[in-house]
């Protein structure tokens, strides 16, 4: 079945795929190492490799404060979403809970909400109640992005845990709450961890809320801050600085996703094909 020719074709096709998957990332890394006027050398690689741009961005308050904001806001939004979603997913997947279907439909509807439709009314509301340009002002709308996928993913994980475990706990006299806390929750920890990575990444990736609901370094996250970068002098394009900042926020996440790729793939697709 696998003749030599199809094998060669397959390897070639794989190489093409790998090339296109990696090229844009390698390109922005390459850009970030081009110092000064080298940025406009119009070639793929730098003429001289230089760390200058990294030094510049780490001495730029716009970037360092955005990095701090992004990490803090995304972490808090992740923890809140995973905790709330764990409770809801357990109820949906494991309990005799007919309203679970309603909750799942609500989750689906929320996941389809256009972010800008939420952001524009919040822009007005946050300004009047003082949440504009604060961490909390971003953490709350981030729940609309992270909660749906957390509930779906965790419900899928809970369904994989053998039902006999709770039945055994019930026979031993445990209440449903005890069965959840002492038997199921510890087993679901890997699933919660995977869900947390996915949720963190979604919050980390946000641009719409970041750019509509902040105005200063106080709360502006990295993706929004990138759009406000300026060059070293006012006559210079910010290309190099943006590239270096982009690499700083991209590489750790890429590494994280690749380390946990098996789990993340199953988390992302679990339930997409079965109920």
């Amino acid at each position: 079945m696998t003749s030599k020719r199809t094998r060669v074709e397959f390897v070639l096709a794989s190489l093409v795929v790998i090339f296109f998957s990696l090229a844009p990332v390698v390109w922005i890394v390459s850009l970030s190492f081009k110092a000064g006027d080298d940025i406009d050398n119009k070639r793929f690689w730098p003429t001289h490799w230089s760390w200058d741009n990294y030094r510049t961005v780490f001495h730029t308050d716009l970037f360092t404060s955005a990095l701090r904001n992004s990490i803090g806001i995304a972490l808090i939004a992740t923890v809140v979403a995973v905790v709330l979603a764990t409770f809801a997913a357990y109820a949906i997947a494991r309990l005799d809970f007919p309203a679970g279907k309603f909750v799942l439909t609500l989750v689906l509807v929320v996941s389809m909400f256009p972010a800008i439709s939420i952001a524009t009314p919040l822009f007005n509301l946050w300004r009047s109640i003082g949440l504009y340009d604060t961490w909390l002002g971003l953490i709350i709308p981030y729940l609309s992005l992270t909660l749906p996928i957390c509930i779906w993913t965790l419900a899928a994980f809970f369904r994989q845990i053998p039902r006999q475990l709770e039945q055994a706990a019930a026979v031993d006299g445990a209440t449903p709450w005890q069965a959840f806390r002492l038997v199921i929750a510890p087993l679901a920890t890997p699933g919660m961890f995977t869900t947390a990575i996915i949720a963190f990444f979604i919050a980390w990736n946000d641009f719409v809320f970041g750019i509509t609901l902040t105005s200063t370094n106080r709360a502006r996250p990295v993706p929004a801050a990138l759009a406000f970068f300026s060059g070293a002098s006012q006559f210079q394009q910010p290309t190099a600085a943006i590239s270096a900042a982009a690499v700083v926020v991209t590489i750790p996440v890429v590494v994280l996703v690749l380390i946990f790729q098996r789990r993340i793939v199953s988390g992302l697709t679990a339930g997409a094909v079965k109920g």
């Binding site: 922005i28 309990l95 439709s117 524009t120 996928i149 719409v208 759009a227 982009a246 697709t269």
Partner: protein
């Protein structure tokens, strides 16, 4: 949900268990209440608020002149060629990117399924675009095509100002969007492919069916569910497109999408009333796409999911 089916007959025959069911339902509500309240607070409240504000002539810069004008904002928008132009651009981007992603995603899924060697490596490479922030992807593609820093023009010997005209700017925007989101499509389709029993394909092969016939008659019909779910989620995502357009052109050269228009009216021009009406219309469009999919493909909304 059918998950507790085995427990129910027991409950009906044994009275002491029915109190257990009752306490389970109570616990169910207790556990899901925080999430449900949070979901409603972050979506239902803002959209209702937007629907209310959309009935006013209201500018942040002159709050004193706020006046109730019924559906005038909607009339202004729906009779303006700007809205229909932006709407057309959004539909165009959605159709082009989702079609390309479906074809590429399916090819990638087939490759990953048939891979004898290097399946993990292939999957690793495919996951890289998924892990890149959309804004970063937008900058990478923008700088590659830009006239000052880009290598694309010298590489192909062209002198094109890619962001100077509508067609070429949309082309680069679509490229970045496709690059970034095809992995999701491929992974969902791969999960769908895994549901198609190999025996079916082999039986068709024994019967002398060609590769194309097997694909059309055996593989695709058996993974319809995964295809529909992937299409629905990507179509909705495509229609909301904001990041790529904002970074590359900010809506210049006729590349403005509905999301960018709503942003511009509300945030840049402080036209809260008009911007709210646009938000409501954007939401209605997405709801319409969703409703169309559910009617067309008879999906049970409680059984699909996505990322």
């Amino acid at each position: 949900m059918a998950t507790l089916a085995p427990a129910q007959p027991l409950a009906q025959t044994r009275p002491q268990l029915s109190s257990r069911i009752k306490s389970e339902r109570r616990l169910g509500w207790l556990l899901s209440a925080p999430a449900v309240i949070a979901l409603l607070a972050v979506t239902a409240y803002p959209i209702i608020n937007a629907a209310y504000l959309s009935l006013f002539n209201y500018r942040l810069t002159s709050p004193g002149e706020r006046s109730f004008i019924w559906f005038k904002n909607y009339q202004v928008i729906l009779t303006d060629r700007l809205w229909w132009g932006d709407f057309g651009t959004t539909v165009l981007i959605t159709v082009v990117t989702v079609t390309a992603e479906l074809v590429l995603g399916f090819a990638l899924a087939m490759m990953m399924k048939k891979a004898i060697v290097g399946r993990n490596f292939l999957r690793t490479a495919i996951l890289v675009p998924y892990a890149v922030i959309t804004v970063v992807s937008a900058y990478a593609w923008k700088y590659a095509f830009a006239s000052d820093s880009g290598f694309i023009n010298p590489l192909f010997g062209t002198a094109q100002d890619w962001f100077g005209a509508r067609g070429s700017a949309l082309f680069v925007i679509c490229l970045s969007e496709i690059w970034k989101t095809t992995p999701f499509m491929a992974l969902v389709l791969l999960a769908g492919l895994a549901q198609v029993p190999d025996e079916l394909d082999q039986a068709a092969m024994v019967d002398g069916a060609t590769l194309w016939q097997r694909l059309r008659r055996v593989t695709l019909p058996n993974m319809e569910g995964a295809i529909v779910v992937a299409l629905l989620f990507r179509a909705i995502d495509g229609f909301r497109i904001f990041d790529n357009v904002f970074i590359m052109t900010a809506g210049a050269q006729g590349t403005e999408t509905v999301s960018i228009l709503a942003y511009r009216q509300t945030i840049s021009r402080a036209q809260i009333g008009l911007g709210s009406a646009l938000s409501v219309l954007l939401f209605a469009s997405v709801a319409l796409i969703c409703f169309g999919f559910i009617k067309l493909f008879r999906i049970d909304p409680a059984r699909v999911r996505g990322g």
